[in-house]
């Protein structure tokens, strides 16, 4: 995607240029990984299985007990609005990831935040990372590091 294109993103109730969204250094989503997310994508600017992604996001939220302050239907609507608002930039990007992230919010150790941080953004699909591999195939490696056991952090949660 050409540089200098500034998509519009949703930050806890407001639409702002993406570059204006920064995470507070004391947001629990940053300093203690207290956040969940999901990613849908578009094909020719049309979202694909958005409801399934948002439903999974809300299962993650339920498991970790964060209330985003929006219903799943509202989250779908905000996500679709994000796609609509950025349609004018799409010819440079091809298609979008539609990325919802929810953190528990800004608070200190053993404090609970009063309000979740909610971010919905369109990010260009990173075609260059993998496009050439449709032809050649990519190389899988069995990692040394093991996955979480469900007793530690259920892998069904996207966090």
């Amino acid at each position: 995607m050409a540089k200098g294109i500034e998509t519009i993103a949703y930050l806890t109730g407001e639409w702002v240029p993406l570059s204006e969204i920064k995470v507070h250094v004391h947001d629990r989503g940053f300093y203690i990984g207290d956040s969940v997310f999901d990613l849908a994508r578009t094909f020719n600017g049309k979202s694909f299985k958005m409801k399934e992604h948002v439903d999974r996001l809300y299962r993650s939220l339920k498991h970790v007990r964060i209330d985003p302050g929006l219903s799943p239907e509202e989250m779908v609507e905000v996500s679709e609005e994000c796609v609509r608002r950025n349609e004018k930039f799409r010819k440079d990007a091809g298609d979008w990831h539609v990325w919802q992230a929810v953190t528990r919010g800004v608070a200190g150790w053993r404090e609970l935040p009063t309000k979740a941080t909610v971010i919905v953004q369109c990010a260009p699909i990173s075609f260059k990372i993998y496009a050439h591999q449709f032809k050649t195939g990519a190389h899988a490696v069995i990692a040394k590091t093991r996955s979480y056991s469900p007793e530690t952090a259920d892998p069904k949660v996207k966090h």
Binding site: L18, I21, K22, V23, H24, V25, H26, D27, R28, G29, F30, Y31, I32, G33, D34, F37, V64, R65, A101, R104, V106, A107, G108, W109, R110, E111, I119, Q121, A123, S126, I129, Y130, T145, R146, S147, Y148, S149, E151, T152, A153, V157, H159
Partner: protein, 310 residues
């Protein structure tokens, strides 16, 4: 306390007001937990065991293969400089946490990240979170969520990716509104809390879980030092909830509190339900060591704190 002062922080090579330290959405430290950190504290504005904290930070960095671009000695100097630059704000807050954080930097999925993000900041020691508990003791709760096994993520690494700790905090409060969680390992042994190590006292012996299942707390090391000075025996061993329930005393150790008595475990009374004599002895010796009455300071500053972070 009035508004939290806008302290001076180190952010990627510059000294800036802390309010200007902002994390990019595509920082791997934010969106995929690719970050390590450490926190030291000051006593009367003088840092305590800074070298030990920074050495642990560099072990974390080594394990996760990040190069923060700063030598260990420079990291100590920058941390001490951060303390000096904020000394003028200290009378309002009492003392500081000196918090170093390093992320792998800004970069998308499978993309090469940019230079690491490096943050050093002074934030007030969160006295209000625990000051009242020196007298009554806090309450431990064995959390449902288990700790990491070393095969998943070695608990010796001090990192930002802690969904299980966040859940454990909530689970502890389900059982006891004042609950402080302690997590079990995959075998059912006690490991650590969410930001503290756990100790019990049985028949005059201080007992704590072994090195392999927890973050090797700098304050945990200081407990051993103080115990040696006082001639109190201590052991590291595999402990189960049984040992906690049947102990004579329990306490936690971490950087802000030093140690904090714990008088209940899963709603059962530990010992006689009061902070125990060995706990008190260690706390007194620690105050002596740092030249400040740890409890008195916490109790004095706690009421001034409405929030501890901004």
């Amino acid at each position: 306390m009035a508004a939290i002062p806008d302290t001076v922080a180190y952010f990627n090579g510059n000294w800036v007001p802390r309010s200007q330290v902002k994390i990019d959405l595509l920082d791997r430290g934010f969106y995929v937990g690719d970050a390590v950190f450490d926190i030291a504290r000051t006593f009367n504005g003088k840092s305590f065991k800074m070298r030990e904290h920074v050495e642990r930070l560099y072990r974390s960095l080594k394990h996760v293969r990040m190069d923060c671009g700063i030598s260990l000695d420079e990291m100590i100097d920058l941390s001490e400089e951060c303390v000096r630059k904020n000394e003028k704000f200290r009378k309002e807050v009492g003392d500081w946490h000196v918090w170093q954080a390093v992320t792998r930097g800004i970069g998308g999925w499978r993309a090469e990240p940019g230079p690491p993000t490096v943050i050093i900041q002074c934030v007030p020691v969160p006295f209000k979170t625990y000051a009242h508990l020196y007298k009554t003791g806090g309450h431990l709760v064995v959390a449902k969520s288990r700790s990491y096994s070393p095969e998943m993520l070695d608990p010796k690494v001090k990192h930002y990716s802690r969904l299980n700790f966040n859940l454990a905090d909530l689970e502890a409060k389900d059982v006891d509104p004042e609950g402080w969680p302690v997590l079990l390992d995959q075998k059912g042994n006690l490991t650590e809390g969410t930001g503290y190590n756990v100790f019990i006292v049985t028949n005059g012996v201080i007992r704590t879980s072994g090195d392999s299942v927890l973050l090797q707390g700098v304050s945990r090391g200081a407990v051993f030092e103080v115990a040696e000075q006082l001639g109190i025996p201590y052991t590291q061993e595999e402990l189960q909830p049984y040992d906690l329930y049947t102990a004579d005393e329990a306490f936690i150790s971490n950087t802000p509190t030093c140690i904090l008595p714990m008088t209940k475990a899963d709603n059962r009374v530990v010992g006689n339900g009061k902070p125990g004599p060995i706990t008190q002895q260690i706390l007194a010796a620690w105050s002596e060591k740092v030249g400040l009455d740890i409890v008195d300071q916490a109790v004095r500053f706690a009421p001034k704190q409405t929030k501890v972070l901004s």
